[in-house]
Amino acid sequence: MEVLKLLSAYAIPAVFLVILSAGIINDVKVYDVFVEGAKEGISTVARIIPSLVGLLVAVGVFRASGALDLIIYAVRPAAELLGIPSEALPLAFLRPISGSASLALVSDIIKTYGPDSFTGRLASTMMGSTETIFYTLAVYFGAVGIKNIRYTLAAALIADCAGVLASVWICTALFGSYVK
């Protein structure tokens, strides 16, 4: 555990040192090239803003409308069959569309049910093993101007479902099953 923490802490300084040394050794004018490259960052962000506005507005409207509650109500019976406790169900749907909202939800679950409860452990596992798919797709595709994303969203959502189901399975196996 300590080794892992150390590795995380040294990662960024190490990357800096390696890249800068490689530059100096290969006669790269490191500062000039850095400034030139940093310029690109500005145009990249400018390209991201429109797609991010589009995404976040849709997510914001969708969330504020309460549509999520309807969906959760509809799929609850199926989720119970799969062993997903209804307290953790909203997280499964919120996670791919909003990172900050799902983080708030996890912290709420931890506060309400306790971090060491089955629901608390499951929510932590689900949060850690899945990603904010819609945000990532909007930013990455927006940055390079891709309009037709083909099967990317489908594949990412399949992976997300697998992550949710695997979380339920591994938590049940390790921490015992969910009892009401």
Binding site: I19, R63, S65, I110, I146, D160, G163
Partner: protein, 202 residues
């Protein structure tokens, strides 16, 4: 596809809001979200410039190419469309490594850099390639060595063992990644088959 999803989210959102009598909340959410999007982007600006600059040095010094050559045997089968010695694979690996090490701030700029490199290989600039799909699937399902945010959240909540979920997160992530990669491979194969058949017909 994106057009329909976007329309669907907004249409369902407004329709449900009318039924729920949440029109004011929804209007507020729409306006606030657009502000949040800009704030997020501005927050990204500094770190984006920093990593873009650093990646510029890495590229000029040949480091990215060397990294690409190094990981080619490992990742070649996931990205058959990337030619040998192309820096795209190097940029992809740097993003995946940043994700793995939990360098959240670095991951996005590096990922966008990788998308830029992949876009250079794309013949149809507004349609994504198989390599891009595979990259995004790997990116959204990737393992994190130390899920620091969740551990912090758990210890703040008074957990007796905040780090006990690390193993469950790893295992669930691996399941997600394997499923995602398989799904992407199958879906790309399907798409190619369909295109081939269409060509035969006409």
């Amino acid at each position: 596809m994106l057009n329909y999803i976007w329309f669907g989210m907004l249409a369902i959102g407004f329709a449900v809001a009318i039924m729920n009598g949440r029109i004011e909340e929804v209007t507020k959410a729409a306006i606030e979200s657009s502000g949040t999007a800009v704030q997020l982007s501005i927050g990204l600006l500094g770190i984006m410039c920093m990593w873009s600059g650093l990646m510029g040095i890495a590229e000029k010094s040949g480091l990215v190419k060397r990294l690409a050559r190094l990981v080619r045997p490992l990742l070649g089968f996931l990205f058959p469309g990337i030619p040998k010695d192309h820096p795209a694979l190097g940029a992809v690996v740097m993003n995946l490594a940043a994700n793995f090490l939990g360098m959240g701030n670095a991951a996005t700029p590096l990922g966008i850099k990788a998308m830029g490199e992949l876009q250079k290989l794309n013949s149809n600039k507004d349609t994504c390639t198989d390599a891009m799909s595979m990259f995004l699937v790997l990116n959204t399902s990737s393992i994190q060595l130390i899920p620091a945010t969740i551990i912090a959240l758990r210890s703040a909540g008074g957990s007796s063992n905040p780090t006990e979920v690390i193993v469950t997160i790893w295992i669930a992530s691996v399941c997600a990644t394997i499923t995602g990669v398989t799904a992407a491979k199958i879906l790309s194969f399907w798409g190619a088959e369909r295109r081939r058949k269409r060509k035969w017909k006409y």
